[in-house]
Symmetry: C2
Subunit: 123 residues, 2 copies
C-alpha cells in the first residue's frame, strides 16, 4: 500500500487548506468520488460533502490547524493515524483523535471513521 | 448502540475461550454470519473462519490471554477498543493492539480490523 504516513499527511493537508479551489483539488486527488466520512459529531458523503464538512470545522476553529500525532500505520487497504487540532504552534493541542480509513482499489480513501481521543473539559 | 465496553468484553471472551463448543456459541451470539476479520498478519471470513483463526492463535500462545486495555468507545455502528495479550496475571503484556469494528443493523459484529500497538522486539 501507499505509505500510511504520506496518506495521513495529505489527509490533514485537506483539513488545513483554507482555499476552496486548492482544497477541492486535494480532495479530488485523495478521496474516492463516493467516499464517506463519519465521526462522533458529523458525517458526510462524497467529496463535495466532505469538503463542506471540513469548511464547517475550519469556520468553527479559524485559528486551529491539524497536525499528525504519533505514527501512522496500515496494512492491505486499511490504515489508521492520530492527529491533534489546536492553535498553530501551541505546545499542547486541546483536541486529539484517531482516524481509521479504508482505501479503494485505486488507492484513494473510500471511508474514513474518526474517533476522539481528547476533547476540552468543561471549565 | 450497545455499550462498546460490553461488546469489547464479549469479543475478548471469544478469543480467550478454549472450549470449541462454548467458543462457537459465543461467536454465534456476537458475530454476524458473514463477519470478516483482518489484521496485519491474518484474515478470516465467516464465524467458522474466525473461530479457526482464534484457535490458531490460542495454539500459538497457549499460556496467553487477552485482556482489555484502556477505554472502549464508539458511535453509531462503529467502535474501537484496545487489548493486551500476554501470560495470565503478568504485569506487562508483550503484545498490545487496537481493534476497529463495525456492527450490522442487528448489533452483531460484521467487520473487525485489528492493528498492533506493541509487539515483542527481537532479542
Amino acid at each position: 500500500m501507499t505509505d500510511p504516513h504520506a496518506i495521513a499527511a495529505r489527509y490533514l493537508e485537506c483539513w488545513n487548506e483554507r482555499d476552496p479551489a486548492r482544497r477541492a483539488a486535494l480532495l479530488n486527488a485523495l478521496f474516492a468520488e463516493d467516499a464517506s466520512y463519519r465521526d462522533p459529531l458529523m458525517a458526510a458523503e462524497g467529496r463535495a460533502g466532505i469538503g463542506a464538512l471540513i469548511e464547517g470545522v475550519q469556520a468553527r476553529f479559524p485559528e486551529f490547524r491539524f497536525a499528525p500525532a504519533g505514527r501512522a500505520d496500515g496494512f492491505g487497504a486499511c490504515l489508521r493515524f492520530s492527529w491533534q487540532l489546536g492553535p498553530e504552534g501551541a505546545a499542547a493541542a486541546p483536541i486529539e483523535g484517531t482516524d481509521f480509513a479504508e482505501l479503494d482499489a485505486g488507492g484513494r480513501l473510500r471511508a474514513v471513521t474518526g474517533f476522539l481521543d481528547r476533547v476540552p473539559q468543561p471549565a
